[in-house]
């Protein structure tokens, strides 16, 4: 997978949100984007997916099949869990992906009959069932309980290694970033300044390394004035 973002800018109602952002990455990466709330992370993912047109600059991407775990889930309210998956990938077996995210037996439930965390997992299952070569995940583990979150992180890491796909994840949690990422960017000042961190293969990372990375990320995040009030 090759990702090349050059000079990307986007404003909403005259206010610049993403300001001349450039970044490139190659290989089977797991890129994590860390940044304060409202700094434009979702906006960046939407531009990468091609659904939002930038004002200037461009995104070059090889991806043929792109999955998206939406921050706001975006499940179709009048389709049940099974149908919400089969509508995006008719050739997949939704039951398999539902049990993968721990929603076995919930196939015929509608989104409103699922809890927040269950909806989030359905959102993740839908992205995986699409059989993507790149997944964009917008705070995918929010609102999940610790045990489920831990299992899902493990399983997603397995998918990432097994299927040779690339992932771009937005999160607020430096520990998640330290555990999963090959690359991390810390966003400040509307993407005009970013800290780029190259970590390499997360599978060769010891728990101690992860702790160190987490602490390093946290102190960097604190240094950015926008992270403290």
């Amino acid at each position: 997978m090759r990702l090349r973002i050059s000079n990307l800018s986007r404003a909403f109602d005259g206010e610049t949100i993403v300001d001349k952002f450039s970044y490139s990455l190659e290989g089977d990466f797991f890129l994590t984007i860390l940044g304060s709330s409202g700094c434009g992370k979702t906006t960046l993912l939407r531009m990468i997916s091609g659904i939002l047109k930038p004002d200037t600059g461009r995104v070059e991407l090889q991806s043929k099949r792109l999955g998206f775990v939406f921050q706001d889930d975006r499940l179709i309210p009048w389709l049940n869990a099974f149908q919400n998956i089969s509508i995006v990938s008719p050739e997949s077996n939704p039951v398999e992906y539902l049990s993968f995210v721990g929603l076995k037996g919930h196939d015929s439930k509608y989104p409103s009959q699922l809890s927040g965390g269950m909806r989030r997992r359905l959102n993740i299952a839908r992205a995986l069932a699409f059989n993507p070569d790149l997944i964009l995940m917008d705070e995918p583990f929010n609102s999940l309980d610790v045990v489920i979150k831990d299992r899902l992180i493990e399983d997603i890491q397995k998918i990432w290694t097994g299927k040779k796909i690339s992932i771009i994840m937005v999160t607020h949690d430096p520990a998640e970033a330290a555990r999963l990422s090959t690359d991390i960017i810390l966003v400040q000042d509307k993407f005009s300044k970013v800290d780029e961190i190259k970590l390499g293969d997360p599978l060769r990372r010891s728990p101690d390394d992860m702790d160190l990375i987490t602490r390093d990320l946290l102190s960097r995040m604190k240094k950015f004035s926008s992270f403290v009030h």
Binding site: S49, I51, L66, G67, F68, F70, D72, R74, I76, P77, W78, L79, I87, V88, S89, Y110, S112, Q113, R126, F130
Partner: protein, 253 residues
């Protein structure tokens, strides 16, 4: 003590019973079949109509005109309303025309119908169509505009084929709007088909009422009114059944 569901089932029976009783008492007081036939006389005439082949052919005529007008209106409204819903400029352009159509009173169409479509089968069909088409079109357009743009964005990202996006997202979003306009529309449909037949029909319930009026057969007028009321209630029930079957589309789940 009555359970609430039994109370619910009983309430309409009581209210209709009271209505019949009031009607009966009033007819006894007036005591003139010319001015106000009672429920028994009306029922008598009703049975006479529904046991004659002429009666049934009138009812069938009226139904076929009403439903023909309804289906043409619905079909056109679905296609035009859909494009109005997804293309803003079409909405801005067509909406004023539809609103004007909607504001034209039915008497204007009736006055023109004789010249434009003549006395016969087609005039009532046109009139049903003209009264329903604006209501349906506006509702389909509003329903489609009401679609959650975030779901449409999701569908684009996952490359869901256009036909499925239409059926599963746009049409499903518009479904509650379409249903409520159908409810209103079915009432309008029976009223406008009857009045059109009354004025410019060669056959059907409305025409039969007009004939009854000229022969001063007021029981007949009442009996045909009863038939229209029954048709209205039956179609309302039918619509409810269709909605239940289509409820996989409905938003409430």
């Amino acid at each position: 003590m009555l359970s609430s569901s039994r109370r619910k089932a009983l309430a309409p029976i009581i209210s209709v019973g009271l209505l019949l009783l009031g009607w009966f008492i009033a007819s006894v007081i007036v005591s003139s079949d010319l001015l106000l036939p009672g429920p028994l006389e009306t029922m008598d005439e009703f049975l006479r109509i529904v046991s004659s082949s002429r009666g049934w052919s009138d009812i069938a005529e009226t139904c076929s005109k009403a439903f023909l007008g309804l289906f043409i209106a619905l079909g056109l409204a679905l296609s035009i309303g859909f494009f109005m819903g997804i293309i803003d400029i079409l909405y801005e352009l067509i909406k004023p025309i539809v609103v004007i159509l909607q504001s034209i009173p039915i008497v204007s169409w009736l006055a023109l119908a004789i010249f434009w479509w003549g006395v016969g089968f087609s005039s009532p069909v046109y009139i049903v169509f003209l009264t329903l088409f604006p209501v349906f079109t506006i509702n389909v357009a509003e329903g489609v505009r009401n679609v959650d743009k975030k779901l449409v964005e999701m569908a684009k990202i996952y490359k869901i084929p256009k036909s499925r996006v239409f059926a599963k997202i746009y049409l499903a979003s518009a479904f509650p709007f379409i249903v409520s306009s159908m409810r209103v529309g079915i009432g309008i449909m029976w009223k406008s088909v009857a009045v059109a037949e009354f004025m410019v029909g060669a056959s059907g319930i409305g025409r039969a009422m007009s004939d009854a009026k000229y022969s001063i057969n007021i029981e007949r007028v009442f009996a045909y009114t009863l038939i229209l009321v029954v048709l209205g209630i039956l179609t309302e029930r039918l619509l409810d059944m269709i909605i239940k079957r289509g409820s996989r589309y409905a938003l409430k789940n």
